[in-house]
Symmetry: C2
Subunit: 322 residues, 2 copies
């Protein structure tokens, strides 16, 4: 099923999230307007606000807060994208020049801070402080995960447990927060809030595993960004960890990762001389286990078209190629 | 009077701000500990938390919230320092290697985000949401001011009004927020909160004017950072704006600013061939006017040793050489 069809139960509200976000950002100072519009154009599938809305609809009725939380989560995600592009020195995102490509390093550092501040400001205007508390803690964990990952590049003592801890922090906590807040603002029971949180955490973890696989075996034109970067930057993702653990491949892979040369050249060697397909297979098995956990968590929510859509997202994450 | 003596009315609480901040940051993940300790070591005179405490004491009794708000404001300020050093490519702060000098660009971008998130998290734990609301808005304005300044480097159409608008945003709003929150959490009347806010805004504006003068005529060893950077980076500060407006100097100064060459060489030319002393004099006159406004705002607070200390800070800002 296409993502657009899956999101049908919350389409109207999701469109409000997108259009209101753009309209509100238009109220900026003239100097900032082109910057925030550029950042807003990087937004993609709106998966995170969709989760806020689906989790809300799955346990009750959607309220104004759901649209607000959807906007806040999407803004926060946008801020991380702007900073990520600085960190990666990326020049293209969604076929457009990144903020750093267009303006240098300084502007996107400040623009990311600015968008974070906008998100927090919108969240503290809500009467219930749950959104602010969850999002401040989530942002802290996203940064913590990213910092840990950078500090342990080329750290060949890295293991699967630490890999999962980092991707939970840097990616899955925001999915969990989206689902948790969606359920919370619909008046869910404590058990339902925990079930929604668990669903988001497992789905987000699987999402990142698939992302890490795509970096090695995806189609650059479909994924829409430079691939092979984990390999040349020493980021020890799940397929690479498996290969490193194979007696006949580990030492050669360490050498390949440490060697000079660009990511495309290294990727070509990896595909030619290593059992990449098997490594991807093992990693995707890890993703599938997480997705099975996500599906199991849905049993904690009442049956509804929204819950069916969440179930459909499990298949979407597994099958996605971009 | 020395700053330490001026802050005597709130010394005990100010020491709590400093020591509790360091103790709480010690609770970090092992990977992050050296990073947050390095960032914490950049903190200086604790002027902003001191203003929270003095404004609170000036209108009533200090409560636990004042220490919390002091820590939050200091953390927020620390986050801006970490990001500023990335923007400026600075290698030294307070005689130590900056985070970017020690770890490259990526870590301090994320560390700044992490510290912002910690500050917001601490603030959303307070039962009264005023702190969160004021700080989210203040952070937004700090970023807006910094972005506007960067976008208008070497923009020789820049004028005094826009200069003041930018320094109010990027510097004075945090001073105003410190004073406003200090008064608010001591149960001040609306008029007292506004008087405290006005005091902080005028004091912070003057502080930045003095900072911009020190960049041109300070002693590098006393100030503790590289000077002359505004000149070579095209930042149109108040003394430079005055010189640019002088018929016999404007064109030559534009040429000097645009010319290649490092800041020390340009600073030497500025000192030798331009009436720098007169320019500094005019700018300091602007600072003095702001400080007179700050002093006038104090009339809105009841007489007390804390208010006297705030009055003393006016002279401190004018006389400071670092």
């Amino acid at each position: 099923m296409q993502l657009g069809d899956l999101l049908a139960p919350v389409r109207a509200e999701l469109e409000r999230v997108g259009s209101e976000l753009v309209a509100e950002l238009r109220g900026e100072e003239a100097d900032l307007l082109p910057l925030v519009e550029l950042a807003a154009s990087f937004r993609g599938k709106q998966l995170r606000p969709a989760l806020v809305l689906l989790a809300g609809r799955a346990v009750g009725a959607l309220r104004e807060e759901h649209v607000a939380v959807g906007k806040i989560i999407e803004l926060l995600h946008t801020a991380t994208l702007v900073h990520d592009d600085v960190l990666d020195g990326a020049s293209l995102r969604r076929q457009q020049a990144t903020v750093n490509a267009a303006y240098g390093t300084e502007i996107p550092v400040l623009l990311g801070d600015y968008i974070y501040a906008r998100a927090f400001h919108m969240s503290v205007l809500l009467s219930d402080p749950t959104c602010s508390r969850v999002l401040a803690e989530t942002t802290r964990r996203i940064c913590q995960g990213e910092i840990t990952q950078i500090l342990h590049r080329f750290d060949f003592d890295w293991d699967e447990a630490r890999y999962f801890r980092v991707i939970v922090d840097k990616t899955a906590t925001l999915y969990a927060a989206a689902c948790r807040l969606g359920a919370h603002y619909a008046g869910a029971s404590r058990a339902q809030v925990e079930a929604a949180d668990r669903f988001g955490l497992e789905l987000g973890t699987a999402f990142q595993v698939v992302d890490d696989c795509l970096d090695l075996d995806g189609d650059e034109h479909v994924v829409g960004k430079s691939l092979g970067t984990d390999l040349s930057r020493g980021k020890l993702t799940l397929p690479l960890l498996w290969l490193l653990g194979q007696r006949e491949h580990g030492e050669r892979l360490r050498e390949l990762m440490r060697s000079p040369g660009d990511e495309h050249a290294k990727l070509a060697v990896l595909k030619r001389e290593f059992p990449l397909e098997a490594a991807i297979g093992v990693a995707m098995e890890g993703a599938r286990r997480r997705l099975a956990n996500a599906r199991a968590a849905l049993a904690g929510l009442p049956a509804s078209p929204a819950r069916d859509a969440m179930d459909g997202l499990v298949d979407y994450v597994l099958a996605r190629s971009s």
